[in-house]
Symmetry: C2
Subunit: 259 residues, 2 copies
């Protein structure tokens, strides 16, 4: 299986970046499935293959089937699968591996710990990939696949993987929403978002040399109530005001109990 | 005033990094004040000057006095000031400039938009500095000071400055707490924080080319409820659970109303 044939089920951000990375590393992508014809077609063109919008038509001649769809959608897709001989793999942080058990003996998980956007290329070599498999043979097969694109491949079971995914939601998705809130606040003042870029870059850079606990700064950790009260009053949006107050209180208490 | 003499009131993170940057750019630091003798002494040694822990002893022969203390502490310090002829400046994002009005005719604000830690050097050249002053002469003096260490100096009035500070709290202080929460979650699973570093770096890097709104990923924006419900259930800490649910709902609604 030096160059396994791979079918990609899904054409979202992760599916797109993974399919392109595999394609660029010499793998043959047999087919792309997406329920949305446009997405399927676009990704298929990027990796020089066919596409389908019907699960029963995904073909049965691949060595590996990578499922990269919304967690909610996976069970329904599995029920429509034709009988497959290859390795079934999903890319979800929070889906147990044994979701495949009723459908195959040969399955696993390939979870890249990264944020993917369709239009932005990722350095897969530096992206940690958490793998898990139903048996020794499958684990070797998955490790070979993962190591062909990443320098950081680690076996992680389903229970620990879901905590890694949870940590990723806080440190990526919630962080990005914080950036977005900053952008909204500046936009209302007709100020450019660029103004925040050096601060955002330094905030991410400094935790390479300090722990996030040591790196914490700002009015909440100083318990500078004259600032936190004034800032909360500036927020008209109730949801943002609640987030502001909750985060300030949480930071204050985290540093009270540890200092 | 080619080389103004500068007194620094405060020895916290910002005071330390600013005093060192000014010293390294050839400015003479006349004296350091901190109510904590150890902090005053340490910073004074770094910038080759004397220190005091008594406001009445800060001296009266400087051209510029930079107040970099907790917002809460500033009013009490101003009340103890000896009569000063120089320019009075504070570094606070949320303190109005006219807090100085009862004490001087010559004052302003020097607000660097950055996160400072005592032990980590900052590239001041890339740090935006927001300035404001009581008159034309003072604004020129402050601009000269700011431009001697930063390439991004912009005049900002007190009203807009407090919104910039608010945006900074979301995009730096709250972001850093999100990193810290991720670190706590991984630590409980005996997993190294390093695992999150490529994700954190990419999350900050991608908003150089996409807006934070476009860059948003994760279960909340996909409204993948099977993930968000499972993840919320993993959190035992009530404060973190509330933050998780609030952020997920906020992200979902932000993208509902804009798509």
């Amino acid at each position: 299986l030096d160059h396994p044939r791979i079918t990609i089920i899904g054409a979202g951000n992760l599916a797109t970046r993974l399919a392109v990375a595999l394609y660029e590393h010499g793998f043959c992508i047999s087919r792309i499935y997406s329920r949305t014809a446009d997405s399927a077609k676009t990704l298929a063109a990027m990796v020089d293959t066919d596409y389908t919008t019907e699960i029963p038509h995904i073909g049965t001649d691949s060595d590996i089937y990578i499922f990269s769809v919304k967690d909610d959608a996976l069970p329904g897709i599995l029920k429509q699968l034709p009988p497959l001989k290859g390795l079934l793999v999903h890319t979800g942080g929070s889906i147990p591996m044994d979701i495949f058990a009723p459908y195959s003996d040969s399955y696993g998980v390939f979870y890249p710990l990264q944020t993917f956007s369709k239009t932005r290329k990722i350095d897969f070599a530096e992206t940690p990939v958490c793998i898990e498999a139903s048996g020794e043979k499958e684990l070797k097969q998955l490790a070979a696949l993962a190591e062909s694109i990443s320098r950081h491949v680690l076996p992680v079971n389903s229970d620990r993987r879901k905590y890694i995914h949870l940590a990723a939601v806080f440190t990526c998705n919630f962080v990005n929403r914080m950036y977005d809130i900053g952008a909204e606040i500046l936009q209302q003042q007709q100020l450019p978002f660029d103004l925040l870029q050096p601060l955002i870059d330094e905030t991410a850079a400094k935790i390479h040399s300090l722990s996030p606990f040591e790196a914490q700064t700002g009015p909440a950790v100083r318990y500078d109530r004259s600032v936190t009260e004034k800032q909360s009053a500036l927020l008209n949006d109730e949801s943002l005001k609640t987030i502001y107050e909750l985060m300030s209180k949480n930071i204050h208490q985290r540093h009270l109990s540890n200092r």
